[in-house]
Amino acid sequence: MSQPAGAPTIGLGAHWYRLLSVIALLALWQAAASGLADPALLPSPLATFEAGYEALRAGDLFYHVGATLARVAVAFGLAMLIGTAIGIALGRSPALDHFFNGWLVIGLNLPALVTIVLCYIWFGLSEAAAILAVTINKVPTVAAILREGAKALDPALFEMTRVFEVKPLRVLARVVLPQLAPSLMAAARAGLALTWKIVLVVELLGRPNGVGFQIRSFFNFFDIASILAYSLAFIGAVVAIEVLLLQPIDRQLGKWRRA
């Protein structure tokens, strides 16, 4: 990332600091693991890596991380779609906003665990119930962020499209959504982090596969190395989504601001 003009210089390049930070974390982890009497309580980075490699070789890691990612993708997509539609409606209509504001506050404060347990009770331990529970948890966050974005839409551009009678879908695609891009990206980032954590709980409570299911199994066997290995593998997958998908989209959408 380039240094903004006038910002204080920090000696080494930013990527060197990131690398040093990772090394420091690993060193700290190693020191903590070495200091404990029982290595099973906190396995060393090497022991964790070995557990991860074993799971990778057996094919378990891909299978379970894949199952979790699939749930995250479906719930995230649904929540973004529904939350965006609700957010735009609330942001553009003061009447709807006043009416539904209380509902939104309840949705934002509803504990994820309650939604998950209720969905499993009402709809059974099914895939649909799991996805529904995660989606319900995520929709209010997306809606709240998009509502603020929709309130800030430029009225002058709306008037222009109105007098020229531009088709509504074209207005949505070319005028509304690009203005909402920063809100959509903020909702996507906040949403991705929230969604995968809830998916793990959903899997832990009632699915036969996925990282959450595996963590419960490892908990039963007190296998901390595998718990850490699966967690790190999944964090790696989410970071990859952020770096390879979200950041390029963000750069593309913000290109006109830098022109």
Binding site: E159, M160, R162, V163, F164, E165, R170, V175, P178, A259
Partner: protein, 250 residues
């Protein structure tokens, strides 16, 4: 038919202080006319534009279109281009993808032929205004509303853009309302000039002119009409390009 009849149009605002902006404007614009509404800043010209364009419904009096509501082409006082779309895409937003050839031709006509992909933020204010003019002409409007479309252009460029407007009107006889503070511009382009008084806040003079087919600025008829109109507006200042140097942002 795309004529317009405005009868006793009034508009008042409560904020920031209670004030009357339009005090009973009567104006009839017949099909095919090019009418200029002239008045100084603050006379209510843009308020009237917003009422005619359907963007302000809080007015008194009556507004009646002769026939069905026409397709409008509007040049707002600010360009109102979409900042993340290139100029060609800004035009296609209102004209649709099928109008790409005409959009390119119009960008060429307003001397922006090499700026198809330029973003509005990369262009000067004058270039943005010309793109907004091309956008309004692209939709082949039944009724064209122009709010100070040439205000930030230098004298030579403004002259060439007046020719573009005049050519467009002569070819299509599109009913046009030009809002301007420049009497010279109004007389050069119009079949009628209406004077909006900032004191009475209504149209106080309405001067018919022969069709500009085209009208040259050295025309003695232009000079005589200008003299008459200046006499009518003597009590309030009307800035004129001949008297005040324009902003050279074009």
């Amino acid at each position: 038919m795309t004529g317009l009849v405005l009868s006793a149009i009034t508009r008042a605002f409560d904020h920031p202080v209670p004030r009357t902006v339009l005090g009973g404007v009567d104006l009839t614009i017949a099909q095919g006319e090019f009418v200029s509404l002239v008045g100084p800043s603050g006379a209510g010209k843009t308020t009237l534009l917003r009422i005619i364009a359907g963007l302000d419904s809080g007015y008194g009096g009556s507004l009646a279109w002769q026939g069905a509501r026409p397709r409008l082409g509007v040049v707002f006082q600010e360009p109102r281009l979409v900042p993340w779309l290139g100029l060609l895409d800004n035009l296609l937003l209102v004209g649709g993808p099928e109008s790409v050839d005409r959009a390119r031709a119009l960008l060429g006509a307003v001397e922006l032929g090499d700026c198809d992909n330029a973003l509005p933020g990369q262009l000067s204010g004058g270039m943005q205004r010309r793109a907004a003019l091309a956008r309004a002409l692209l939709v082949e409007p039944d009724f064209l509303i122009l709010d100070e479309p040439l205000i930030s252009l230098d004298a030579a460029l403004a002259e060439r853009m007046r020719r573009v407007l005049n050519d467009f009107w002569r070819k299509r006889r599109t009913t046009t309302l030009l809002i301007t503070h420049s009497l010279a511009e109004a007389v050069e382009l119009s079949t009628r000039v209406a004077i909006l008084s900032p004191i009475e806040r209504r149209v106080v003079a309405d001067c018919a002119l022969p069709p500009p087919d085209p009208r040259l600025s050295g025309d003695p008829m232009v000079a005589a009409a200008l003299q008459d109109l200046r006499r009518m507006t003597r009590s309030w200042p009307v800035p004129d390009p001949a008297e005040a140097p324009p902003d050279r942002a074009g």
